[in-house]
């Protein structure tokens, strides 16, 4: 796990709030090795989600360097960032963010619409991803017909289907009961250990963080400490 999938140097991120400037990240530096599973913890407003957005190429820093999967993200424009996201990163959100009018299979197929794959190949890959997360039998169901745990599995399948190098998970169990949360976290663990996916997960839940290899704690825009789990 020596090669870094994420490398950040002196990253500064500020937001304008009316006449005020809020500095969310202040010269943050961080390395995440390839194949790692990192849980990012900290109180609200500590900058976790901002850090996640920067790693995922959803936002750009005011200054500093961000290299993810070998690409300097701070140098890319919005179009190039979009293309980079489609190839290298998969997102899992707290509220699943599935398209309510599409069934599970169509939701999972969405990232593949940006590829040159044929319709049949896209469908096959979507079913394979649903099978991997153990929910192929619900392929034709719409999000409203799925439980929270099932919907999050579909969201994970959507994040995986284009075979990204990095999974970004923002409170993936925040809307689930304990049992469903543990199932989803166990699934993420399998994806990390057996399929080599690098994962960065924001969570408030210490039990969820225990599923990760490492826990990083943030407060006031800075990393506090780092610990390695067995």
């Amino acid at each position: 796990m020596s090669e870094a999938i994420v490398s950040m140097r002196n990253v500064v991120k500020r937001y304008e709030r009316g006449k005020q400037t809020v500095e969310v990240l202040n010269g943050l530096s961080l390395d995440i090795p390839k194949g790692d599973f990192v849980a990012l913890m900290g109180p609200s407003g500590s900058g976790k989600t901002t850090l996640l957005n920067l790693i995922g190429g959803l936002d750009t820093p005011n200054s500093g360097e961000i290299t993810v999967a070998g690409q300097r993200l701070d140098r890319l424009g919005s179009g190039a960032l979009a293309r980079w996201r489609s190839n290298h990163v998969g997102f899992v959100f707290q509220f699943y963010n599935l398209m309510p009018m599409l069934n599970a299979e169509r939701n999972v197929e969405l990232p593949l619409l940006l590829t040159h794959l044929s319709g049949s190949k896209r469908k096959a890959n979507a079913l394979a991803a649903l099978t991997l997360v153990g929910i192929a039998d619900r392929a034709k169901h719409k999000p409203a017909e799925l439980s929270g745990g099932q919907a999050q599995r579909v969201a994970i399948a959507r994040a995986l289907v284009a075979d990204p190098t990095l999974l970004i998970c923002d409170e993936p169990t925040g809307d689930l009961d304990r049992k469903s949360a543990d199932e989803v976290l166990h699934l993420l663990q399998i994806l990390n250990r057996d399929h080599g996916k690098s994962i960065v997960m924001v969570t408030h839940d210490p039990k969820a963080a225990e599923f990760a290899r490492r826990q990083l704690h943030m407060d006031k825009g800075a990393l506090l400490e780092a610990g390695t789990l067995a």
């Binding site: 989600t49 957005n53 995922g56 959803l58 936002d59 919005s78 179009g79 979009a82 293309r83 980079w84 996201r85 489609s86 190839n87 997102f91 959100f93 707290q94 509220f95 963010n97 398209m99 309510p100 009018m101 599409l102 169509r106 969405l110 990232p111 619409l113 940006l114 319709g119 896209r122 959507r158 923002d170």
Partner: protein, 388 residues
Amino acid sequence: MKFFPLIWATLWRKKTRTIFTLLSIVVAFLLFGVLETIDYAFAHPSSGVTGADKLITTNKYSITLLLPYSDAAEIHAVPGVAEVTWITWFGAYYQESKNFVFALPIDTDSYFNVHKDEFIVPENQMRAFRGTRTGALVNSALLKKHGWKVGDKVPLHSTIWTQKADGSLDWTFDIVGTFDARDPTQASAQAQTVLFHYEMFDEGRSFGKGEVGWFEERVTDPSKAADIAARIDALFANSPNETKTQPANDFALSFIKQFGDIGFVLRAILGAVFFALLFLTGNTMMQSVRERTPELAVLKTLGFGDGQVLELVLAESLLLCALAAVIGLALSYATLPVIKTALQGIELSPSALLPGLGVAVALALVVGLPPALRAMRLNIVDALADKH
């Protein structure tokens, strides 16, 4: 095409709203189809007078002003005029004003010489017409429409001409025969026509004796028609009854224009309808995109570029408008026979519906562009924060 299922599913995300929006656009395009067809029909009228060899002479200032019958001889004397006949607008209906009848008093010999071989009239019925002072030749379609038969006495109510004898506006005719246009394209223009004797009309009316509504001329050489028209008008220049001579179809246009600028009125109605539709559909599209802000942000996180998101929203707008336009125009096409019956004697053309597709595309772009631009400019982080 691979994006079609996504666009289609998005369009039907709120079924009830989409159905009502679709219906409002369908109704607008149904109205568009109907009014455009009528406008086209008025802009391309058939005068019921066929051939490039026909001219029509009216009063220069208004076709409602009469001309002296004596002008006929002078017109006939113009080189190149093979035949001239005269007609007056009778303005008739049968029983009720909705039963409009295109009743024309004609001078039998000259009329059928000007319109040589244009009508099919059984020989025995033509003989009966010539021999019956109150006789009338009725177009077979009109005969069938009112259930008349040869031999019937039919009263027609004139909206203009009172009878000298009793001041009545009701004139009674004996149906002695039928006629049909030989050219099928003229069948519709002739479908309401009744021909009767000018002599009987002129003697029976209480005013306007010796005057006619217009003259119709057949010229020997159609290529010289413009020159002949100028010569005819020159005859009466600076007289109390100056004339205007023009090709038959131009006359039909002038006749229609006396009712006002129908095209302008129809376009004004359509303009108001589509102006209202712009706000309705535009507001619906904007609301739909606003509701989908997190979903659009998710598409962007998956790697959809700003341009692709703009195209998706525009495609949705285009699909909605095109679908509604096709349904609306198809419905208006289906109503053509009904309109044709209601607007008796007017020829309708389905080709008038084609511009509707262009209007649909323009509408889609106008109502789709603002929400599409909004979706394109969407900041992912801000949009997702609403959900978090």
